[in-house]
Subunit: 148 residues, 2 copies
DNA sequence: TAGCTGAGTTCGAAAAACGAACGCAAGGGA
DNA sequence: TCCCTTGCGTTCGTTTTTCGAACTCAGCTA
C-alpha cells in the first residue's frame, strides 16, 4: 500500500523512481544497453533468479520500455527483448549514473567498457541544462516550486 | 552472493546502479532533493517502515552521499541528513529521471512541483553530450567497446 | 522415438520489508 | 522531583520478496 503508491502518484519524478527503483531493474537496463536481449543471457550473465527476471521483464514490457521481437534461429521462431523508443530514451538516466560512477566510485581508472561518440570519438557525459539559456545547472541553480 | 556482487564490480555503471537500485533509495533521494532532512519527515511523508529507512540512510551515509549535520532546535542538539558534494552530484541522475518522466509518464500536464533556473527562469532538462564536439547524443550515436 | 534447447513456471526455504510497540535522551511544565 | 512530549531510532513477530533447484513445454534434430 505504500511503495506501490509512488508508482501512481501524480509526480513525474516519483513514478520513474518507483519503477526503476525496484531491485534488479537498473542492472537489467544496464545489461540491455550493453546489448543483451535474451532471457537466457540475462539469467546467466547477471545471476538473477529466473522468476524475478521473468517478473522484471514483464513489468518493463507492460510499461512499454521493452518489446518482444520475434526472430529466427535454427529455423525456429524465438523472441528477444528490445528497447522501445521509450526505453531508448532512458539513455540519459544510464549515462547520468555512469558519469556519477566515474567521478565518485572509480578508485582507479577501472571501467568495464569504453564509450565514445561514433562521429568524433569523443567521450560521453550526462549533464543538466537550462532549456532557455542553455547554461549547465546544478541543484543550487534550480528553484523548486511545489505546484499550487 | 549475486546482487551484492554488482556493488563491488569494477564497472562505473553497475556500482551506482546497484546502490540506487535498492528499493526506496531513489525515492529517498527524491525526497532529499525536495528538501526533506529529518528522519521523522522522511518517515511520515514516504510511509516507509522505520527500520528500512534507518538502513537506507545508513547505507547512503556510509557511501558518503549523505552526512549527518547537527543543528539546534528548542535549545536541543539534533541531527539532520544532508547531501554531501557527492550526493549533490547525483542531481543529473534525478533530473534525467524527471525529464524521462515528463516525456513518457505524464498523461496530462500533471506535476507535483515546478523547476526553473534561478537566473533566467527557464526550464530544466537532462541530456547526454559529447565531451569533444558538444553534440547531444542518443544511445545510437555512442559506440560501446568492452575493455580489453 | 528420444534428446536437446530456450524460455519460462513452480515451490519450499531464506532474506527483506512491514508495522506496531518499545527504548531513550533531552527538554518543559507543575 | 515527576510526568509528558519529541525526535530518532531499535526490536520483534508477521507478511512479502527473493532465491535456487527442479520441473514443464514447445519446437526442432538425430
Amino acid at each position: 500500500m505504500s511503495y506501490a503508491s509512488f508508482a501512481s502518484m501524480p509526480c513525474t519524478l516519483s513514478r520513474p523512481a518507483a519503477l526503476l527503483g525496484e531491485r534488479w531493474t537498473l542492472l537489467l537496463l544496464r545489461q540491455i544497453f550493453l546489448g543483451t536481449r535474451r532471457f537466457e543471457d540475462f539469467q546467466s550473465t547477471m545471476e538473477i533468479s529466473r522468476s524475478v527476471l521473468t517478473d522484471r521483464l514483464n513489468v518493463l514490457l507492460q510499461e512499454g520500455v521493452l518489446k518482444r521481437v520475434p526472430y529466427q534461429e535454427d529455423g525456429r521462431t524465438r523472441h528477444e527483448y528490445r528497447l522501445t523508443e521509450k526505453g531508448r530514451d532512458l539513455y540519459p538516466v544510464m549515462m547520468a549514473l555512469r558519469t556519477w560512477g566515474e567521478r565518485w566510485m572509480a578508485p582507479e581508472e577501472e571501467e568495464s567498457f569504453h564509450l565514445h561518440h561514433r562521429n568524433c570519438g569523443g567521450g560521453v557525459r550526462a549533464k543538466v541544462e537550462c532549456t532557455e539559456c542553455g547554461a549547465e545547472l546544478t541543484a543550487r541553480d534550480v528553484q523548486v516550486t511545489p505546484k499550487q
